[in-house]
Each structure stands twice: as structure tokens, then as C-alpha cells.
Amino acid sequence: MNCGVVVFPGSNCDHDCFHILKHVFKLHTEWIWHKGDMDLSRFDLIVLPGGFSYGDYLRAGAIAQFSTVMKDVIRFAESGGRVLGICNGFQVLVEAKLLPGALIQNNTQKFICKTVPVRVENTSTAFTGECAGESVLNIPIAHHQGSYFIDPDGLRQLEENRQVVFRYCGPSGEVTDEFNPNGSVGNIAGIINEAGNVMGLMPHPERCADPAWPNLDGQLIFKSIIKSLQSGVSA
């Protein structure tokens, strides 16, 4: 299984994602430089990591969508390749229209870094198969523009297609305003595309996947991806 971690200028969770894939899950992992004109077809999974691509000037992810590598990533995604966008990666996927909606400034107007509970809404995706139904994962968030927004029609479509994968919730899974850290519509923390091969989420599963920490909830997401790829089931 070949994994690629995209490096935009300003990516800063690239090393963390690389570390988890390569050193924790022992997967063959390569860097993908943003300027490269690379054939991505040999990869099974492309990760767009967190950070501040191109400084996130203008709007998070707005400049990254135009980078050379994104043309290849879009082609890769359109041919069914698995793409995981974490935090800034999610923002880039949204800007690049690989996922619907938008990520806007947190309603607290502040950067938020803390571990929050998220409820897994759909465990039949290629990214969540290992998460038990409706289970609550504790995963850190670290973002300033992480409030998910989509219009009512779009939201209805997401819900109907079961594209909402994660929602912010309370410790026992209660999805209420009280446990919405950033003002996301419907407490949405992560979504998947209709084809089921591109997922973006604001929480950082790579921050709770290293055995040096007691919390390993993030491993479930990586394990799900690995398992679905190994079993050869197409997304």
C-alpha cells in the first residue's frame, strides 16, 4: 500500500501524518511536493495535511487549490483514488470543489486547540469501517477557520446521502449547540464525497494515533482506510 503526503508551502502537519503512516502503521509513504508534475496513479492514498498552505492568505485553502499538485490530486480523486484531507487539507478539498460547502471563521473568532468528542455518523465508509456504530471518538481540533457551512439544500443532500461522517458532540454523543466548538452547521466536523473516496475532516486523527499517548482514537480512521484498501473493496 502506497501513501503520499502532499507538502504545500506552509503545510505543518505533513511530518505528523508522515510519521503516523510510516512509523506507526509501517506503510510505504512518500512526500508529494506541491510543484511537482507527478503521476499519482501509483498511490493508494493521498493525504492533504493540516497547516497554513501558502500562509492561508486570502482564505484558508484558497490559494492551494490552484497549485500544480492539486490538478493531479483532482485527477486522482476523479479516478477513484482515496483522498484524506485533514484540517487545512479539508479546507483545500472544499476550495477545490472535491467536497461541497465551505469552512469559515470559527464563531468564537479565535483559534481553538483542544481535544473534543466527535460522533461517527456513518461507519460504512472506506474511512470509518473500523469505528463501531455511533461511537464517540476523542480527537484534537486546531483551527481558526473550521466552521463548516453549507446551504439548506446542500445540507439536505449531504444528510440524504449519508455524507456527514463526523459531528461534534458531548462526551456521551449528544449533538447539541453546547458541544459545537466553532459554529459548524449541524455540528459537522467531517464529510465525504458522494462517490465515497474523498473525505475531509477538521479534527486531527494523526494527533491521537501514536502509542506514546494513551488516546489512540485516531488510529481507527487509519485502520479503516488500510482495511478497506487491503480488502480491495472499492470506495
Binding site: 508551502p9 506552509g10 505543518n12 502537519c13 511530518h15 505528523d16 510519521h19 503516523i20 510543484k35 493540516g50 497547516g51 497554513f52 501558502y54 500562509g55 492561508d56 492568505y57 479565535k110 483559534f111 481553538i112 486547540c113 483542544k114 484534537p140 486546531a142 481558526h144 486531527h204 494523526e206 494527533r207 501514536d210 506514546a212 499517548w213
Partner: protein, 742 residues
């Protein structure tokens, strides 16, 4: 030499913040009058900020050597060996003046500057901390400043991908007109791959890279070397604007560059910009440099040599590479989309010559500029205020019958309240090393690829230093060390940021001398080398000086990361023990300040040998797996330490019932700040082992209670003194700062 501008007048000298005596010294040593550009160079290089002319004499009292020290003071940062072929590079630096004028950019560029000091040496920055001091909470400007500074640090640190893992925040009226923003950074480097800032090898090219040079920040170093007055607001244009994205690119480009064997010497452009890095690199290399200014990447047209040389535009570096490697280096910088140009070369004669389109505009001997500033041994005088404040009459402070209200008030006071409002705005987890999140005594980071971990803490109780700078500085060192010990580490190095008022006043110099002497003595006692630091003087507004604030940051090493210990109680039924002696000491306490608005008395007595024995005991309890929590008693004393041990657990708070025996006043017993005390908890089965260990080293130790229940109950001599639900205490403690700052 090309005729440059008018002859220098005494007014021009004064406008450059120099004395006529200094100007005469330049003339004498140079054998001619400097031109205006050269005067500008002297003004920044001989400024207090760059030359340490008031402080250098005293700084010699600090111990700087030790078996682990790979690089002491004098370079961009200090380097300490941690074994396994790795070393840590660290330093703390102030950005006080800019942050007061423009808090967001001032604090942000402070972070940028300290980061560059670290990666300049070849180290990957892995942790930031900060020590922030604001004016009184009810001062009209404080909330604006807190929000701005925190936002600036958050924005810059987060974007560069370096976690901000800890720090401290204090509020005190003495900072109303002059806040302190001290920023610490630590990096990791292979111990045989350390880069220094020297220019050697005649003919080697000098390359400029990073952002373009603009007109911002001209004379920032001189601004930091004078007091504030009513017109300080007008200095806003001298505050630089930071671009953390450019910094992130610089970090990656530099570390990639240093993987190659091309680099001879490298230095960032910090205070005094291109001038300082050129002269200092030549100075360390014993060489000269020829520089051509027309090749410097510039942001705007029409910049004069004076502007270019004194600009403090951010995110710029200067590197000397081996001849023949320049094209490779330039290609690497272009890969990272950085501006880069060959701007000069290393020469034989120790002279810096600067040209503009081939015309010489500066010709100065390196040594004169770098080391020529007078070593001032400024006069000192014990300040008169001490006679008024160095004692406290407790007769007019009625003792407490119950402690509940006081405890609640202390927990909700801004200096003691939980700081999550601040640290949740900082990415404190990126890079996957942060084992100990903010909110315990010290931050703890694992060292990837080894069993080891690092503990970091930054401390200073400036009220103590105001009342007694010698002992106050000692306490700062001792407390910082204790925080490291409580987290499972042993101290291996220290960096300091010495924030004081105007050194031209003998009373301020007395405070400085006392504090540095005290700090030196404590460091020698604990055997901790001071490997880097920064002096910030002139922290005054309209003649009103801040409290002397010699902030220290200590780096500790955990030989095994499993020693990592946190401050909160773990299990119901565990026993609570207090190591150390509680005396009737209320001088300088948070209690007197918050409850009585009095800043008086002597700071608590610090018995250094006892402190050391207690630290060793605590570490051995941790390493033997006996102590499951350890917490230092500091501001707010035993009462606050107990409450924090109950309520700082990241998930659910836990209660405890304590029975304290006391022969002193109740308030001193629970809220006095006697030094060297550590609160530990351990299982009931471990009790004998713990008691025996304490007895063996002859340290005061008492089991004072048990973890459990929903309330913190403290009985003094059998009578209930505190009884509060921990969930309520937690709410007060967690919410106070946020509800204030918002």
C-alpha cells in the same frame, strides 16, 4: 569615499540615542568623523539592546559552563547535550517595547525572532513558551493588550507549525505602562551538526535570503533602549510586521540547506538587521565582509544605504557558503520561493566595507563596532522604597477563621486562574511531541527516536524581586527547577530574560546587580549552566519602572519519558503528602496582594540545600513509581496547590480530605508561600516506602490526607477550615480569566 550628507551635529547624535561622549569615542577610535550611515550603524550596535553595555559586567557572575554545555552565551542561542547524539538549543528573548506599542505585531515578531535564533543554529524548533506580564486587570488598556499579544503569538506560532506548550501570565499595576512579552524557543539538533554565526574563508560568498528589505523597523533596537513617554504611540511605525508564512519557508529552507555541506556560517537578521548580522558574523570569524547594497532584495524604490542597513524587516537571513556552492544554495532558496541574492564576500582584513553601486558608503573596523561600546560599570544605590516595604505588620491583618472565601477569591484571581483561554488559542500539539499539555507544572515533550523527554518551565515572581531582588531571583530559579522536578525531570540548563527599568538610575542598577548575583548563586548551587539570555532595560514609562523581572526558563531532561508526572490527583483512596516546611511567611504573597492589596514584607525564606534535598527526594519518589502526582506550592500556597491538584485533572475533578496540624496563623498555613514545598500523592500501599525515603534524607514530610469525595475539605488542628465542592471550585478557576478578557 563618496561625500555623504551633512556633517554630524550634536542634535543628530542625540536623535540617534547616543551621548556626545560616545560620539567622541567613535571619532577618537576611528580617527575621523563617521558619516551619517556609519553613525546609524554605531547607534544600533552600541545601543543597550545590542551591546549589553550596562549589563555585561554583571553577567559575568552567571555560571555558563558544565559537562553538557556545547555552546554557552555569545551565539544566537545556547546548546546543551542530551545524549543519544542529540542536543537542545534554546533561548528566551524579550519583545516588550514593540508589544506595548502594537501588541499583535510586537508579540508576533517576538516569536519570529526567537524562532530564527534557534533554527539558525541548525536546530528544528519543537517548542515555544512565553512569559507575559500585563498591567492591573482593571487598567483600561490591559484587556486590549492581552487580546492583542495572545492573538499575535497564536497567529505566528500556529502558522509556523511550532507548538506553544507552556508559559505564564501575570497581572500587576507595575506593568501598566510597560508590559513584558518574553518568548522562549527550544529546538533539537544532532550534536555534531550545530551551525554558528561566523564568516570565515576569504572569498566565500555572502548570501542574503528570506523576505525583501523594506523601511519597517528602522531603529527598533534603539527604541528598545530608551524609556517610554507620552509620545511613545508615535513610535508605532518602528514596530515591524511579521509574516509567519515566510518564516515557515525559512525554517524548512534552512534545515534543508544545513543537510548539505555548503554552509560556513549563518545568522538571522534580528535587531539592527543586516548591519548586526554582517558585523557580528565578521567579528566571530575574525574576518571582514564586503557588501553591495544594490543586490539586496528590496520592497520599495529609493531606499538609502541608511534605510537598508538599519531596516528590521522580518524573516531575513544571512549565510556564508563555501565558494562554488552559491548556485546550489540559490537554487534551494528558489525552490522554497524565497528571495535570495549574493550580496557580498568574506575578506581578509577585519573591516566591513559597504558599497552602493560600487561606491563605498561605509568603511568600519569590525572590532570597533562589535566590541567598541564602553563597558559601563554604572553606579548602584539601594533604593529608598525598600525601607517602606520590606517588612509587614501582621497585627493589622486579622487571621482567618475560615478559608473558603479566600480560596475562591484566589482561584478566581487573574494570576492564579486557569489559563486555558490563552493556551487553547495556541496550537500546543503539532509535531506530536507534547506529552504534558499546558496546565501542569511544566510542559513535557518526548524526544522522538529515544526514550527521553524534555521538561520546560518559565518562572519569575516579580513581586518577590521588587521586595528583595537577590532572593527573588533565587526563588525564580528554585521554583522553575521545582516545576521541572515535579514533572519528572532533572534540570540541565537555564536561559534568562532580565527585564528591568532605566539602568542610568543607580537604584535600578542596584536591583539588577542584586538579581543577577542571586540568580548566579542559585544556578551554581543547583549546578545549572546559564547558556543564553537577553537583557531588556529601560522598561519604564514616564519615570515609573516595572518591578525587577528576571524571568528564567529551565530545561529539564527525563531520562525515561515514563517518569512524566502531572500535578493532579489520580485515584480515590490515594494519600496526600506534603514535603517541606510551612512557616509563618506572608510577605510578598498573592494572599496579601489579592485580599489586602498590600505588597509588603520579605519574600519567603529560601533554604537552597533543603530545596535541593527535597527535589532529589521528589525525583526519586517519581522514578521509583511511588508518587503518582507532584505539584509545587507557589502563589496562593498550600491551599491553592491542594485545590489545583483536585481540579486540574483534564477530565473529572476529584475531592480530597486533609487534616493539617499547625502552630502558625491559619492564613499563613494555607495561603503563605513558604518555599521548597511539594505536594505528592501515592497509593496507600506505598505509604511506608514513601515515609522511609523521606526519613532517610531527613526532610520534613507529613501525610496530610486522602484523595476522594466531591469536595475539598481542609481541617486545621481538627477544625474545619475549608469545605467546598470541587466542581464549584473548578468552575470558578476555569472561567475567571475568560470572563475577564472577553
Amino acid at each position: 569615499m563618496k561625500p555623504v550628507t551633512p556633517t554630524i551635529t550634536p542634535d543628530m547624535v542625540r536623535q540617534h540615542g547616543m551621548t556626545l561622549e560616545e560620539f567622541r569615542r567613535i571619532q577618537d577610535l576611528l580617527g575621523r568623523a563617521p558619516n551619517v550611515t556609519e553613525l546609524g550603524i554605531f547607534s544600533v550596535m552600541w545601543s543597550e539592546h545590542c551591546s549589553y553595555k550596562s549589563s555585561r559586567y554583571y553577567l559575568k557572575k552567571l555560571p555558563t559552563e558544565g559537562p553538557r554545555v556545547l555552546q554557552g552565551p555569545g551565539e544566537n542561542a545556547g546548546v546543551v547535550d542530551i545524549g543519544d547524539g542529540m542536543a537542545v538549543v534554546f533561548k528566551i528573548e524579550s519583545h516588550n517595547h514593540p508589544s506595548f506599542i502594537e501588541p499583535r505585531q510586537g508579540a508576533a515578531t517576538g516569536v519570529g525572532g526567537i524562532l530564527r535564533d534557534i533554527f539558525t543554529m541548525g536546530a528544528r524548533p519543537i517548542a515555544l513558551m512565553n512569559s507575559l506580564r500585563f498591567g492591573a486587570a482593571d487598567h483600561p488598556r490591559t484587556r486590549f493588550l492581552v487580546n492583542g499579544v495572545v492573538d499575535g503569538i497564536s497567529n505566528y506560532g500556529n502558522c509556523t507549525g511550532v507548538p506553544t506548550v507552556g508559559g505564564e501570565i501575570y497581572f500587576d499595576p507595575c506593568y501598566n505602562g510597560n508590559i513584558l512579552v518574553n518568548v522562549f524557543c527550544l529546538g533539537l539538533v544532532p550534536s555534531d551538526k550545530i551551525f554558528l554565526g561566523n564568516a570565515s574563508g576569504v572569498g566565500n560568498p555572502v548570501i542574503y535570503f528570506g523576505s525583501k528589505t523594506g523601511r519597517d523597523g528602522i531603529h527598533g533596537a534603539s527604541m528598545a533602549s530608551s524609556e517610554f513617554d507620552e509620545s511613545s504611540e508615535e513610535k508605532r511605525p518602528t514596530v515591524q510586521v511579521g509574516d509567519p508564512f515566510a518564516e515557515k519557508l525559512l525554517i524548512e529552507a534552512c534545515l534543508e540547506l544545513m543537510n548539505e555541506d555548503w554552509v560556513v556560517g549563518i545568522q538571522d537578521m534580528g535587531a539592527a538587521g543586516l548591519t548586526c548580522s554582517t558585523f557580528e558574523m565578521a567579528g566571530r570569524g575574525g574576518t571582514g565582509i564586503d557588501l553591495e547594497l544594490s543586490r539586496v532584495p528590496k520592497r520599495e524604490e529609493g531606499m538609502t544605504p541608511y534605510d537598508i542597513l538599519l531596516s528590521e524587516s522580518q524573516e531575513r537571513m544571512l549565510v556564508v557558503v563555501h565558494k562554488g556552492m552559491e548556485e546550489e544554495a540559490l537554487a534551494l532558496f528558489h525552490k522554497w520561493d524565497l528571495d535570495a541574492a549574493i550580496v557580498g564576500e568574506v575578506t581578509d582584513k577585519p573591516v566591513v566595507r559597504i558599497f552602493e553601486n560600487g561606491n563605498e558608503v561605509v568603511n568600519l573596523p569590525v572590532e570597533l563596532v562589535v566590541d567598541g561600546a564602553l563597558d559601563l560599570k554604572r553606579p548602584t544605590k539601594k533604593p529608598g522604597y525598600l525601607q517602606k516595604v520590606d517588612h509587614v505588620n501582621l497585627a493589622d491583618v486579622p487571621d482567618l477563621a475560615r478559608g473558603d472565601e479566600t480560596l475562591k477569591k484566589l482561584l478566581a484571581s487573574p494570576n492564579i486562574a486557569n489559563k486555558h483561554w490563552v493556551y487553547e488559542q495556541y496550537d500546543h500539539m503539532v509535531r506530536l511531541n507534547t506529552l504534558g499539555l499546558p496546565g501542569s507544572d511544566a510542559a513535557v515533550l518526548r524526544v522522538k527516536g529515544t526514550k527521553k523527554a524534555l521538561a520546560l518551565s518559565v518562572d519569575c515572581n516579580s513581586r518577590y524581586c521588587y521586595l528583595d531582588p537577590f532572593h527573588g531571583a533565587q526563588i525564580a530559579v528554585a521554583e522553575c527547577v521545582r516545576n521541572i522536578v515535579c514533572s519528572g525531570g532533572g534540570p540541565i540548563g537555564l536561559t534568562n530574560c532580565l527585564n528591568f527599568g532605566n539602568p542610568e538610575k543607580p537604584e535600578i542598577m542596584w536591583q539588577f546587580e542584586q538579581a543577577v548575583s542571586g540568580m548566579g548563586e542559585a544556578c551554581k548551587f543547583f549546578n545549572i549552566p546559564v547558556v543564553s539570555g537577553n537583557v531588556s532595560l529601560y522598561n519604564e514609562t514616564i519615570g515609573e519602572a516595572i518591578y525587577p523581572t528576571p524571568t528564567v526558563a529551565v530545561v529539564g531532561l527525563l531520562e525515561d519519558r515514563t517518569y512524566h508526572t502531572t500535578q493532579w490527583f489520580k485515584e480515590e483512596g490515594d494519600l496526600v503528602g506534603l514535603i517541606g516546611l510551612t512557616m509563618e511567611e506572608l510577605g510578598g504573597s498573592e494572599y496579601l496582594s489579592v485580599m489586602c492589596e498590600r505588597v509588603e514584607g520579605k519574600p519567603p525564606y529560601l533554604d537552597l540545600p533543603l530545596a535541593r534535598t527535597i527535589n532529589n527526594l521528589c525525583l526519586s519518589l517519581i522514578k521509583d513509581g511511588l508518587a503518582v502526582s507532584a505539584h509545587d506550592c507557589s502563589e496562593g500556597g498550600l491551599g491553592v496547590a491542594l485545590a489545583e491538584s483536585c481540579i486540574s485533572h483534564p477530565h473529572a475533578p476529584t475531592g480530597a480530605v486533609l487534616d493539617v496540624e499547625s502552630t502558625i496563623r491559619n492564613d499563613a498555613c494555607l495561603f503563605g508561600e513558604s518555599q521548597s514545598r511539594i505536594l505528592v500523592s501515592f497509593s496507600a500501599e506505598s505509604r511506608t516506602a514513601v515515609e522511609e525515603k523521606a526519613k532517610a534524607v531527613g526532610v520534613p514530610f507529613k501525610v496530610i490526607g486522602k484523595v476522594g469525595g466531591d469536595s475539598l475539605v481542609v481541617n486545621v488542628n481538627g477544625e474545619e477550615f475549608i469545605n467546598e465542592e470541587v466542581s464549584h471550585l473548578k468552575k470558578l478557576w476555569m472561567g475567571a480569566l475568560e470572563s475577564y478578557v472577553r
